[in-house]
């Protein structure tokens, strides 16, 4: 993001004490989570402690390297404090999930830091973009903190089939009476599992998978596209023809065909969709890079005798960044919808994993009884993609508007 055209807050008003103190508190807190929360020592805990140190180091370095404002520092510190306090109040569940707490903190701090950093630009953003940003943040937090936030387990059966919204949990072993009455806010599904909990776990499964797939698709398609554009000649011809062929088969049909053969597992879903989707990334990356390659400054670099790597890294990539970032958002939506569609068809994530697409399918019959429960996971999918699209739309408008 550092390469985009967005203006940074310039009225510098450094308050090093606040940010140092905040960093120290966060550091101590995360360390405590890893040390106290986990009973016995394992490689995971050691890794976790190392991660906390790395995080604190990066946070300190990066934070002090930014052009920032005093108010910005206070906001970041305050939000971090809120997170710490919330965790201290629910110490039991937070400390049981040290990694979740760690990543949750990272997302909260990173997100707020971005908001503060790009405040001047964000302030002019339309409401739709704000809506999108908030949705994305909330989803990210839910996905990371799923086991902490969800009232019940992902697969635990808490009641009978299709219980109504707000029904009380009666299973004694799950909801002991002395802990107070616990409700199933969205009722139960076709197997008597809590809808809300599965919804929250579903966020983690579906979003995580889609995110991973998109990153893969991007690495593959982006690298190939940039290479094809800068090398030209037979490399470009060959890759472009292969991509043409792959794109000649509708992707849903193609992936159904492959999944019939290789079977539906996490790995095969991720790989198949990533490869199919990388074709579209390739097209865009190549087209964008092609427009840059013909620029005189690339010719200058070539005539200087620069190598391929330098040209891609220093001449192509920085200029191709804005459209690629926007494309990342759009591709994520596409992949996310695609995985949901596959799951809906019963060919994606397999039960008992909670997944929004299959949750719609499993509970679809409720619709005929005027029960909107199956619409909730469907709506959750729609909400996220709408949110991402709003942000991307604004980003595209912003970056293209700055050019003219």
């Amino acid at each position: 993001m550092a390469d985009t055209d967005m203006s940074v807050a310039t009225d510098t008003q450094v308050s090093p004490l606040v940010c140092r103190a905040a960093t120290a508190v966060v550091y101590a807190f995360l360390l405590a989570v890893f040390l106290l929360g986990v009973g016995e020592f394992s490689p995971w805990v050691i890794l976790g402690i190392a991660a906390v140190h790395a995080y604190a180091f990066i946070a300190y370095k990066y934070w002090s390297g930014l052009e920032r404002t005093g108010t910005g520092d206070l906001v970041v510190a305050a939000v971090s404090a809120v997170f710490v306090i919330a965790a201290l109040i629910n110490w039991g569940s937070f400390s049981a999930y040290a990694w979740e707490t760690f990543f949750g903190m990272a997302v909260v701090q990173g997100g707020i830091l971005c908001v503060v950093q790009y405040w001047k630009t964000l302030r002019q953003a339309p409401p739709s973009a704000w809506f999108g940003l908030i949705v994305v943040m909330v989803y990210a937090l839910l996905a990371i903190l799923a086991p902490i936030v969800a009232p019940f387990g992902e697969t635990s059966i808490v009641g009978s089939q299709y219980e109504l919204w707000g029904a009380a949990c009666t299973k004694v072993e799950l909801c002991p009476p002395e802990a107070g009455a616990k409700q199933m806010i969205l009722g139960t599904d076709h197997l008597g599992r809590d809808m809300l909990s599965r919804l929250i776990y579903g966020a983690r499964n579906t979003i995580g998978l889609a995110f991973l797939t998109t990153i893969l698709a991007f690495s593959l398609g982006g690298v190939m596209g940039l290479l094809a554009a800068s090398l030209g000649g037979w490399v470009d011809n060959l890759t472009s023809r292969v991509v043409d062929i792959l794109m000649a088969i509708p992707s849903l049909v193609f992936s159904l065909l492959i999944l019939t053969v290789v079977g539906t597992s996490y790995v095969s879903i991720v790989l198949v969709i990533a490869v199919l989707d990388s074709t579209r990334v390739y097209r865009l990356a190549r087209a964008v890079a092609m427009n840059i390659v013909v620029m005189d400054y690339v010719e200058v670099a070539k005539l200087r005798g620069e190598g391929l790597w330098y040209i891609i890294r220093h001449e192509l990539l920085p200029n191709a960044m804005p459209p690629l970032v926007a494309e990342f958002g759009l591709r994520f939506c596409f992949v996310f919808l695609f995985i949901s569609a596959l799951s809906f068809l019963g060919l994606g994530l397999q039960p008992p994993t909670a997944d929004w697409g299959s949750m719609v399918k499993e509970n679809a019959t409720l619709i005929t009884f005027e029960d909107v429960t199956p619409l909730v996971p469907a709506g959750a999918i729609a909400l996220l993609t709408v949110g991402v699209n709003f942000v991307v739309d604004w980003f595209l408008h912003k970056t293209s508007g700055l050019k003219s």
């Binding site: 620029m295 400054y297 005539l303 200087r304 005798g305 920085p318």
Partner: protein, 561 residues
Amino acid sequence: MSDTTEKAPPQKGDVLLEMRGLRIEGRADEVWFEIVHGVDVTLKRGEVLGLIGESGAGKSTIGIAAMGFARDGCRISDGEILFEGQDLRKTPESELRKLRGNRISYVAQSAAASFNPAHKLIDQYCEAPTQHNVLSRSDAERDAVSLFRRLQLPDPENIVFRYPHQVSGGQLQRAMTAMAMSCRPDLIIFDEPTTALDVTTQIEVLAAIKDAVKQFNTAAIYITHDLAVVAQMADRIMVLRYGDLVEEGVTGPMVAEPQEDYTRDLLAVRTFSVEERARPESKPIVEVRNVTAQYRGAPTPVLHNVDFKIHKKRTVAVVGESGSGKSTTARVITGLLPPLEGEVLYDGQALPKDFRQRNKDQLRKLQMIYQMADVAVNPKQRIRDIIGRPLSFYLGLSGKKKEERIRELLSLIELEPDMFIDRLPSELSGGQKQRICIARALAAEPEMIICDEVTSALDQLVAEGILKLLTRLQDELDLAYMFITHDLATVRAISDEVVVMLQGRVVEQGPRTEMFTPPHHEYTDLLLSSVPEMDPNWLDGLLDRREQLAKEGRMVSGAGN
């Protein structure tokens, strides 16, 4: 030059158009800011008014406002626009429509883009007369042929039935002028009608426009950045700068005795010139030997037997119109286009044909500066990195030494190091960007620099600054220049030797003084005589001379536009 007015005659001298306190705003990033700050324009019937200024002067915006029109992203915010006493700002759109194309018409800069590719010329010509109920379709068609003939378009009976893409640029520009005259308007706005054309084509279009305007006693607003062109066309000239009027006056006196410094500067641009240096005896630094080159997939070569030499500390100007192969020659020298036959020698040694086979030192010694500084610097790199890269790449400089050298180079190109070193290209003006490109070339410590139309995208005063800088650097650093240009004024200003190219061949070459004194090759003659001069009578005189020549049976023709 007899007056054969067709319209109601003796109104000449009445005020036709008057714009008072005209203010126009443009929008950027949702904020309106003023680009024209209260300009007054008065135009009498049958008068030609020249609007002149550099880019950003608001001349085009003012011209188009005379039609009560503002482009998307612009608005007329204040003032009166009185056309025959009627305020166009208060006239409803439907009434304005009846004026546009009928009483006031417009000739755009790029005829190729302004003709609709989907319709024949005749259909587009007839549209205004039939829509405004001035002429019937058949009358309009007949009229089109006679106007096309009047404007010297070849084979008018057939050319009218062609599609725009089937007609050359110069012809299209004349066809557009004809179209603007289709309703015999009282006023025509010419918006840089010859800027995109080659010099030899420009003459033909200028002559056609001048003749037609005079013929129908049409008033015109002629917009251009070229003072010499406007001197030929206009009765009166308004000089504009940054949306303000600088000076206004009758053409002859203004050109002879400008009142304002700015106008004087604009006029003086063409007088800058350096002394020609004697040809040295030493062997040439670069020698292009019998080069024939062809683009991949093209049916015929673009260069045929091109052969010339460039000596140390000298400037060789390569001139020619578009398509003459002058830029291709540069590509052959830099190794971007390996030649079919022939070779390029550097210091007597043959250079590898493909730049990828040249070593770092060969690449370093031969640098290039481009026409569009905008796309020649990476918009995402800071000045420090743009200039610093050749330093570390070729010379292995780093840290403090590199920083010092970058600052030195910035001072050399007359930019304050502290102010500019950390800027992005988007924070620079066009001329400053071109200076950065020069600094980047210098950073490599080259022996020769190829300058490919380096001044043609710049305003005249800025361009002059760049030329002066280049000559100063040449003296200080003993550089050789290959200067590619279509602008003969530039050639006259800085060259030691001239190479004239036409359709991929070298037509004539020699020292500057020799080249600028007759007798020349026929094409050189055409090229040289086509460069507009400040003298308001130059065009008429030239046309008379050419007519005389034609009578003697000597036809001169240009690059085929």
